[in-house]
């Protein structure tokens, strides 16, 4: 691959556009500045060593990772189907898959509750036949998070699969590669940046999920009380704790976003140009 000089962006914005852009930067930056200013930093250690807080953080990470794993397992085949196979009703399926992304999360929670709750349309059979229930369990949290987060992965992957150059895949097939081999060694590496971006978005969305979780899974420490729920409750009884917890979540999300961006998107994007 010939090495290329990095193209430096040298465009100048017209002043009105620049001013609006700076206002946008301020709009995003000021809330965080306010949060950092109000956070009682001396209480950080006290809050972080609270066992309930550690439980909430651990639960959040555990459930969001599971939700991401489920989203990958089921979302990638769905994205593949939507991108490559023309079947009647494809538009409807695509709309359905992305509906939960634009839906207000609490509506998703209500929908899940009345479908998969103990007396839900489908949930009643799960409960009566197998004694299996989703609300009030950690499984329920994972289901709620997957429901709202999976569309991110499906959309990102579908876009990338459509846009990639298919001739590499065709060439591999003519050389005798099986379809599984082509997918693993040709397709996935080609859409890898989009895949990683989709995974990160999905994970972040699952981590921050609140409305569907509290409506469908309920709220109980250690089982279903994720960080966003803990912060919401702490706001009423102990605002200092809510501030510290918010900073913890921001720090965790920030660290992952920065780390992943440089390593995966920057590096492989450059390799592909």
């Amino acid at each position: 691959m010939p090495s290329r000089r990095r193209r430096v962006d040298r465009q100048r914005l017209p002043i009105p556009a620049l001013i609006l852009a700076i206002i946008a930067i301020a709009f995003f930056a000021l809330p965080f500045i306010g949060l950092v200013w109000r956070t009682p930093w001396r209480l950080t250690w006290e809050v972080l060593t609270d066992p309930d807080v550690r439980q909430a953080l651990w639960l959040s990470i555990w459930c969001s990772l599971w939700a991401t794993a489920l989203s990958i397992t089921f979302g990638v085949p769905l994205a593949w189907l939507l991108a490559r196979v023309g079947f009647p009703g494809r538009g409807v399926v695509r709309a359905l898959a992305t509906l939960s992304m634009v839906l207000p999360p609490v509506v998703g929670g209500v929908a899940l509750f009345f479908s998969f709750g103990r007396r839900g349309l489908f949930g009643q059979y799960l409960y009566n036949w197998f004694g299996f229930r989703l609300p009030f369990t950690t499984r329920g949290v994972i289901v709620a998070q997957t429901f709202v987060a999976m569309p991110f992965l499906v959309l990102t992957m579908e876009g990338a699969l459509r846009q990639m150059d298919r001739r590499f895949e065709d060439a591999a097939r003519t050389l005798g590669a099986s379809r599984g081999y082509v997918f693993r060694r040709v397709t996935m590496p080609a859409v890898w940046p989009a895949f990683i971006a989709g995974c990160v978005l999905t994970w972040a969305r699952a981590l921050g999920e609140f409305g569907a979780t509290i409506t469908f899974a309920g709220n109980f420490p250690r089982t279903t009380q994720t960080m966003p729920l803990a912060i919401y409750l702490a706001l009423e009884s102990n605002p200092d704790e809510a501030l510290v917890l918010s900073m913890v979540l921001i720090a965790v999300s920030f660290a992952v976003l920065i780390g992943l961006r440089d390593r995966w998107l920057g590096g492989s994007a450059r390799a592909l140009t």
Binding site: V8, F114, P135, G218, N219, F220, L233, L235, E236
Partner: protein, 287 residues
Amino acid sequence: MRRTPKLAIGAIALLGFIGASCGSDKDSAATTTTAKATTTSAKATTTSGAATTKPAGSTPAASGNITVFAAASLTESFNEIGTAFTTEHPDSKVTFSFDASSALVTQINQGAPADVFASADEANMTKLTDAGNNQGDPVVFATNKLEIIVAKGNPKGITSVADLAKSGVTFVTAAPEVPIGKYTQQVLDAAGVAVTPVSLEQNVKGIVTKVTTGEADAGIVYHTDVLAAGDQAEGVPIPDDINVIAKYPIVVTKESTNASTGTAFIDFVLSDQGQKILDAHGFSPPS
């Protein structure tokens, strides 16, 4: 050109920090002066908090809009009281916000625009008075008792507080800051029963919903909530010796923009008419 955006972001962040740190000094100075001012005004207006019941019609003409923040358990009764109040004072309009008393008092202390606050326990009212956000002293206008709520038909056959600990019974309560959550723990302690709930709801109506939709088998709510649930649920009484008497105080807030109408509303709640409506919904008199 690559340096300029980074410089711009850095400059904005720096200005923000400088502004914020200057602001924090001014803010803390400002809050100390307002705190001093509040204590003097609270002492001056104690007269408006008298607990006498006034007959309906003796209240002065009230006008304008008021916002009443009331505990979730007051939803049905206060909606009716609001309608009766506006019928008697046609120039007035009452808007309600019903939620857990703990959530409401946090909002008021953070500056939410409420004229009147009605709490389901005295602890949350104390949070308001400690912050100096009241005008006059709070007055208890009603009391309530706790009751076990179960699904229609009582499928799990719950007859006492002890039955809540039976295996296979899904019990729901509220977060401990919420009045009903605290009261429930008091009842369970008095009965010597240890139950692990499956969820901590945001307010008492959340408990009612979980039981009426069949997701939970039982919860402990107020007697008034069992009545309000109508035929969607049933109540199992709790013996008086372990039951809790919940006291509901009400007060006008310091930041109220229409304190006279707010006071008129409280007078109405304390009047015979208001008390009759509360009684019809299952509340008990304040004493």
